[in-house]
């Protein structure tokens, strides 16, 4: 489902003396449907960078980044938009929403974007929010004022609303209490069971061991860090 072949990336900071910082070199990874792979490595090794490159959020300098049948490294913006709508989900560490939009609508949006009716999308969003223990009285409110853990759970509900065939999870269990952490791990396991290919970053080693089939140390792809 996901195939990364020999990708590289560097940042050029034009306004800071045109410093060129290579951040990724020769990275390769394959993830099959129903498989979950953890990215590991020290902070700054490039775990999130690799994930963002795969999502099309960062440009890839060379190599291939294939999700389904699209090479994200060379795709046009509208192809990536389609990919994100129907194929590739991404749960980031931070929730980014339009102010004033209700939590229910935030979670329902990915479904509305794929043509689900408003009623069905809301019904699905309610199930997810209830499962993740977001109190019902908060549903009509904007999540911008929620606590860190609540925002994280809203973000997860949104990321799991549509059954994407491929999922990227950046620290989905950080800042969650044990009950909610267990729920999120269950949801990841269910996604695997329905055949989703998953790449995750988990600082929580117990969660990683519980859910991931194997792990990949990205340090080996970090220029200047590899032995």
């Amino acid at each position: 489902m996901i195939r990364i072949e020999n990708v590289s990336k560097s940042f050029v900071l034009h306004n800071q003396g045109a410093a060129e910082i290579p951040v990724m070199q020769g990275a390769s990874l394959r993830v099959a449907a129903g498989e979950c792979v953890a990215l590991v490595g020290a902070s700054g090794a490039g775990k999130s960078t690799l994930m963002r490159m795969l999502y099309g959020n960062y440009l890839t300098a060379s190599g291939q980044m294939i999700v389904g049948d699209l090479d994200v490294a060379k795709a046009a913006p509208r192809e990536i938009i389609q990919l994100r709508r129907y194929t590739l989900g991404y749960v980031s560490q931070f929730l980014r929403v339009v102010p004033r939009v209700s939590t229910l609508d935030v979670v329902a949006e990915p479904l509305l974007m794929t043509g689900t009716s408003m009623d069905d999308a809301h019904a699905q969003a309610e199930i997810l929010l209830a499962r993740l223990n977001i109190p019902q009285r908060l549903w009509p409110l904007s999540p911008t004022t929620f606590s860190g853990g609540e925002q994280q759970r809203v973000n997860i509900a949104r990321g799991f609303a549509y059954p994407y065939p491929a999922l990227l999870l950046d620290e989905p269990t950080a800042s969650l209490d044990p009950t909610n952490r267990a729920t999120v791990l269950d949801m990841i396991a269910e996604a695997k069971a329905r055949g989703a290919a998953i790449i995750g970053i988990f600082h929580d080693a117990a969660a990683r061991d519980a859910i991931c089939d194997r792990q990949l140390d990205v340090t080996q792809f970090t220029p200047g860090l590899a032995a």
Binding site: N15, Y58, L59, I81, R96, V98, R100, M113
Partner: protein, 256 residues
């Protein structure tokens, strides 16, 4: 899929000065594209060339018309272009007073667009006007008030209702949230996002506000001195800018 709008090598000069030059892109149905740049970068000139308010000196702007498919709007006759701007196009001005008739009632402002496309039944026009005022969150009992009696945010929402009542397919927006306070801005952004999704609108939004494009636009074009210097997915351009100017622009945004 046929693009809704196909722009090829558009250039506009003011004497020897460059307004904008060598701009090309395709816009597909349902896509929202943002154009950012500092004032004087040519983004409004470009928007006005695309919307037929200015005649470009070079290039073609092909629009996928309902009757004949792709037609160059630069070379089509004035009546044809005006028909498009009354039906399939909409233009939301930065200052609502440029897009509204200030001495005509709110209902009249919405109804006028309908009458321009041959609606004649008073009851139906009024019913549609009421429906649209509701959709942009203006209370029905304000239908006979003039826009002069409205707040800035309400005027802007009325302008949007007036523009969208004829069911356009392409909306041009020039700083639609400029000059509004932030709470009004958020409400307007939410409204625009909903309308874009429900009506499958394509839109081109000119703004200097990077937060606005991040929330509204799928794609982004960065302009400087009349040239397009960078294009791409909105979040990619903002999070991984390649050009020195874009990096400066992104890093200059104040964090709240």
């Amino acid at each position: 899929m046929t693009p809704l709008l196909q722009v090829e090598h558009i250039a506009k000069f003011y004497g020897s000065r460059i307004g904008c030059t060598d701009v090309s892109f395709d816009l597909y149905p349902g896509e929202v594209m943002g154009i950012v740049g500092e004032s004087g970068s040519g983004k409004s000139t470009l928007l006005n060339c695309l919307a037929g308010h200015l005649t470009p000196d070079r290039g073609a702007v092909r629009f996928d018309t309902r009757a004949d498919g792709l037609r160059d709007t630069v070379t089509m006759s004035e009546p044809e272009r005006r028909m498009l701007s009354r039906t399939d196009w909409a233009f939301v001005h930065q200052h609502a007073r440029d897009g509204l008739r200030m001495n005509v009632s709110a209902g009249g402002n919405v109804g006028e667009r309908l009458m321009a496309v041959n609606a004649r039944h008073y009851g139906e026009i009024r019913a549609q006007a009421i429906d649209w005022l509701g959709r942009v969150e203006i209370n029905e009992d304000r239908i006979d008030d003039r826009p002069t009696a409205f707040s800035g945010g309400m005027q802007q929402r009325l302008q949007i209702a007036r523009n969208l009542v004829t069911g356009p397919r392409l909306v041009f927006m020039d700083e639609p949230t400029g000059g509004l306070d932030v709470s009004v801005q958020a409400r307007l952004l939410d409204l625009l996002r909903g309308l874009v999704r429900e009506m499958n609108l394509s839109a081109i939004i000119v703004t200097h506000d990077l937060a606005v494009v991040r929330l509204l636009a799928d794609r982004l074009m960065v302009m400087k001195d009349g040239h397009v210097i960078e294009t791409g997915l909105t979040d990619q351009v903002l999070d991984d800018p390649q050009h020195a100017y874009t990096q400066l622009l992104v890093s200059s945004v104040l964090q709240v």
